[in-house]
């Protein structure tokens, strides 16, 4: 039995490391997009620059939402490790709501830009902006989907070791997205006003 547990822990560590490797390569993807944005953000061809477009209060709201969701996600993982089903579901439920709210604010910002004619095709600045922030938004969307499915499993089957492991990976992913967003907030939104 002890032997079995040790085996399981070693397997868990391997899965964790594998997922960590994926996250680091994803970080490289984002760093390339950041480099592109840093290079192209001044190329507006006479159009509006970041400081004419971005709303800082909106970006701050998004940051606080994502930060809080990262926090509740961590609490949810702790509850899951102690096999507290409902506490886990509540924490991840709040995380999901905050994430969805974040995504809706981002969509609102994007649709406003597009309605004002500030589209992806207009200039290099907007292309790099939409691709960088949009890629992060896509990650958030897939994270939300993953979260919803895992929560449905927990609701149906209760918590078990494989599900706790899934939640551990999911929370790694979610914290990672929060860290990427901090750099988007700093470089794209705050940086536009410096």
């Amino acid at each position: 039995m002890v032997n079995h547990k040790a085996h399981q822990a070693a397997a868990d560590d391997r899965v964790m490391f594998g997922f960590w490797v994926y996250l680091m390569t994803d970080l490289l993807v984002f760093s390339v997009l950041f480099a592109v944005y840093a290079v192209l953000h001044g190329n507006t061809v006479g159009g509006d620059a970041g400081r004419d477009l971005f709303s800082l209060p909106l970006a701050l709201q998004e940051t606080i939402l994502l930060l809080t969701s990262s926090f509740t996600c961590g609490l949810g993982l702790l509850a899951a490790r102690s096999y507290k089903k409902w506490q886990t579901l509540i924490c991840f439920g709040i995380t999901f709501l905050l994430g969805a709210l974040f995504l809706s604010l981002e969509m609102k910002e994007f649709t406003e830009f597009i309605r004002e004619g500030q589209t992806l095709q207009l200039n290099a600045f907007l292309s790099s902006f939409f691709v960088l922030v949009g890629t992060h938004g896509l990650h958030i969307t897939s994270g939300l989907l993953w979260m919803a499915i895992t929560m449905a499993y927990i609701l149906k089957r209760g918590l078990n070791a494989p599900l706790v492991r899934k939640l551990a990976l999911l929370s790694l992913f979610w914290h990672f997205l929060d860290i990427v967003w901090i750099f988007i907030f700093t470089i794209v939104y705050l940086g536009a006003y410096s």
């Binding site: 560590d13 490289l28 390339v32 004419d52 800082l56 702790l78 860290i179 700093t186 470089i187």
Partner: protein, 228 residues
């Protein structure tokens, strides 16, 4: 990385780690935000300050949220993280340095003109470039109810000219006429959104016409004379 198995004795410690991380992250978010909104500092100093806060927050979240370095086989996670971070710095810093060098040293005449004006480079190897040193009088062209006033602005070289759009529609100022477009000091167009302003430096002398490419009824001209 903490392992997945439950360990109750550590739980209280981990909850407090999340709380500390959350509070520190909030501080590191609000401080740069307030610095930017209240214009306490600006330019390069501001950029460096907010990037420092972002790096601090990165460290906080890696330590207090991701718990990197905790657990049995955490060493490899840390190595991989550090390696990726170095690769990331090479890609980002390398791209920015190389491209900004290219941008400044190998670029079109229009672009050079713009860089010379925006950075106030008034002489190169002892030759005057025509860029302005310091700013002088500001002139305004107000666009209201589809009309721009005054119709003709006369300014001295190195003065500044501000387009003020008081209409409820966006404008895009182009230079020249609709059939024959020109550029002014390297600029070909200037977006002036509703209730916004745009200011240009008058470093090129001569008489210039402008019009709004979105609303051709808006047009006018300005003359820049050498004050020497």
């Amino acid at each position: 990385m903490s392992t997945i198995a439950p360990h109750d004795e550590n739980e209280q410690k981990t909850v407090s780690s999340y709380v500390v991380g959350f509070i520190l992250s909030l501080i590191f978010t609000f401080t740069p935000y307030l610095l930017v909104v209240n214009h306490y500092i600006s330019g390069r100093a501001l950029l460096i300050t907010i990037l420092t806060f972002a790096m601090a927050q990165l460290l906080v979240q890696v330590i207090f949220f991701l718990h990197l370095g905790r657990g049995a086989n955490a060493r490899w996670n840390v190595y991989f993280f550090v390696g990726t971070f170095i690769a990331m710095l090479i890609v980002v810093v390398g791209s920015v340095v190389i491209i900004s060098n290219l941008h400044n040293n190998a670029t079109t005449l229009d672009q050079t003109r713009k860089i010379i004006d925006s950075e106030g480079i008034y002489q190169v190897s002892g030759e005057l470039t025509g860029a302005c040193q310091g700013r002088h009088t500001n002139h305004q062209i107000v666009i209201k109810a589809g009309k721009s006033s005054p119709i003709l602005t006369i300014a001295a070289k190195c003065d500044t000219l501000t387009f003020v759009n008081k209409d409820a529609v966006d404008g895009q100022i182009m230079f020249g006429t609709r059939t024959k477009q020109t550029t002014y000091a390297g600029l070909d167009k200037l977006a002036v959104r509703k209730d916004h302003t745009k200011t240009i430096s008058l470093s090129e002398t001569g008489t210039f016409k402008f019009y709004d490419s979105l609303r051709p009824v808006v047009s006018g001209s300005f003359a820049v004379v050498d004050d020497k």
